[in-house]
Point group: C2
Chain length 408, copies 2
């Protein structure tokens, strides 16, 4: 066939090799369905907009835009490492979490998703072994996959754990109320994990997205804080910490952060500069005013509401789930992780429950780098009120029962 010069471009042939690894997220697709008021959605790690601190945010925006000196900061080019006063606030916040660090250890990012991208950017070469839990956060899988790692399973109990960690460049996990399965790493296991990481040169990427959302029990020390206690200084630590205000303040204001040794911060800042110069100054300054005036009070508003919704979901699951479906009780965070009976496929269930019951969730396969996990599904309980949760879980129970009958 003669191809005319100047005719349509064969883009797949032009794209970079990494572009073939960019695959649509099932979650983001479902977000588009949220506009349909008849659909009950347990998809997305989405905060309830009724709990956004609207008045503090509005006050902050007004204060910033009315004051010429603050305003010129907010509207002008700013430093790639982030807004100074917010970085200082984070130093205090991290100290309360047991992580002693300085302003020079903090970089502000466009949400913690960018934190993960930048960490991967400076750390991961194609072919590097990266360990993560199975299941793991799909956004992290997406962010890191761009850089072409080989994935291995982060499982402290595997007999070959030592050998695996010695070969691993990095290990990624969500130690508190993990996305998607709600589990929390015990103190003993935190030390076991650091033992494995420090036998070689494995960097630990600690994603603390849900850390503030603890409903019961005591806060556990951050892996980064434990590592600093062991090695003496953040400058000698191998843990990189990613935080976010998306789950506590508001995700539309894209503000997250990284805490890391100075040698890593230096490269992260250069990577951020090349990626977008800097994050939104207005968002950073609004978030700073809001958290400086009352971060704890805002978290205290969220906790009882989200705890009740978790309890409502657990109660509804008890009532409506057929035998053979199992789940654990999360001590915080945003998710319950369901295991379906052997042989059942949550993606097929989703197609059915969306069409017939108008209830959606995220199928388990999104959370496994190797695309396994068909038996699982993730339910979010923070975005819906208790009556909606009860109704949605009843619908889901019917859908699962129907599918079990077909399979019998």
């Amino acid at each position: 066939m003669v191809v005319e010069v100047g005719s349509a471009v064969d883009w797949p042939a032009v794209f970079a090799e990494r572009t073939a690894r960019m695959q649509p997220s099932q979650i983001r697709g479902f977000l588009k369905l949220l506009g349909d008021p008849e659909i009950i959605s347990f998809a997305g790690g989405i905060p309830d907009p009724a709990l956004f601190p609207v008045e503090p945010i509005t006050d902050a925006a007004n204060t910033i835009l009315a004051d010429p000196s603050l305003r010129n900061h907010a509207l002008q080019y700013g430093p790639s490492e982030g807004y100074g006063p917010l970085r200082e606030w984070i130093v205090g916040h991290m100290a309360r979490r047991g992580v002693p660090c300085a302003t020079g250890n903090v970089v502000i990012t466009t949400g913690s998703q960018q934190a993960l991208d930048l960490i991967a950017r400076v750390l991961i070469d194609a072919g590097d072994l990266v360990l993560t839990t199975a299941p793991s956060y799909l956004g992290a899988i997406q962010a890191l996959t761009i850089y072409g790692p080989r994935w291995g399973t982060l499982d402290l109990d595997r007999p070959d754990a030592k050998a695996t960690w010695r070969r691993a460049t990095a290990a990624y996990l969500v130690p508190e109320f993990s996305n998607p399965d709600g589990t929390t790493l015990s103190l003993t296991d935190r030390h076991r994990l650091l033992d494995l990481a420090t036998q070689g040169v494995t960097v630990v990427i600690e994603d603390a997205a849900y850390e503030a959302l603890r409903f019961e029990g005591n806060h556990l020390p951050a892996l980064q804080g434990l590592d600093i206690a062991r090695c003496g200084s953040i400058e000698d630590s191998r843990v990189l910490y990613a935080g976010t205000f998306s789950k506590t303040i508001a995700p539309g204001l894209r503000v997250g952060w990284i805490v890391a040794p100075g040698a890593v911060v230096e490269k992260i800042v250069l990577a951020l500069q090349a990626a977008e110069l800097h994050s939104s100054m207005l968002d950073q300054m609004i978030v700073h005013q809001v958290v400086a005036a009352g971060f704890d009070a805002q978290v205290a508003r969220l906790l009882p509401v989200y705890r009740q919704r978790r309890d409502a979901m657990l109660a509804a699951l008890d009532t409506h789930m057929p035998a053979g479906v199992t789940w654990e009780r999360p001590a915080g965070g945003m998710f319950v992780w369901l295991t379906l009976p052997e042989g059942m496929d949550s993606l097929a269930l989703l197609a059915d429950s969306l069409a017939n019951d108008k209830v959606i969730f995220v199928p388990g396969t999104s959370f496994f780098p190797d695309g396994s996990g068909h038996r699982y599904l993730r339910l979010n309980y923070t975005r819906s009120d208790e009556a909606t949760i009860e109704e949605g879980i009843a619908r889901l129970g019917r859908a699962i029962e129907r599918m079990m009958e077909v399979q019998e």
Copy 2:
């Protein structure tokens, strides 16, 4: 030497290969000096904060935060491709520029710096040949360098231009009032460039950052519009367009955009999702309200002020520059590009002029991928008033004369 387990990490050995290519920008370093009121800065492509549309921005922020439905959009997770009404406004804006496209061809980015990063991310493999003008925008050099291209010179008059373009994956340029040298590509040369690009599969990355800032003469058609006229549809075009509101509205609100064929948009959106989920929703919505209410009026505020400053700088250069220093008159944009006498080094000049005359600029070497360009320097005229420009250029003239005497 025995290295204790758990002792300091050898980060350079741990980092990815690409991290060695991340080098500090001279411009960003100088931005930190802007706090010193005695220093006159011609560094940075920085708009005058006195010209930010403060009232429209404040009105927009208030409107958005006071309306529950707008507010929930601004503070909640949003679509990776960007805020719908802003994408629609950009379709109209591009049509006025002679680029027929649809909403599906537009992606909102965190400034045009992110546009360049995302385009490079989906396009460039290590070792790919990328052509750019010499000099070229240093932020583009930084963004693309992460992905490891080989750099070639975009020079339409080179005898080997045809052979070079046939091997090139992409060509990057700023066709209007280029950063750093202020030049504009003529209509004839735009067609010659597209002739070269369409003989093979070279993608053209058109950076239109300064396009709106034309002080005199007629607007020229965008390369993307010309290519669409030649090939019939944006879907068949090989030009990717990067725009920004940083130079017309406010750079602290990080809002830029990409216009591209649907097949490219699809991958860009996935890359953006992995990089940061989405840009600041509040910034996008504020910018949308401001430009919908009066983009042209805002540009009309900027033009006379920036034109007078350009004229003031050209007049001051005529008065204060010693023989042997040359420059061209830019028809728009933010910069005058100075050529120093043979053998002079603008980096040495900067050290001297900063210490003795308290005037700064960006040395030419920042703008050449190969680190050449010692004879050149870039002067910004948009951030200083006319009296400051006169004083700063007088100081610079003295510094150059002093260095010429030393070299004699």
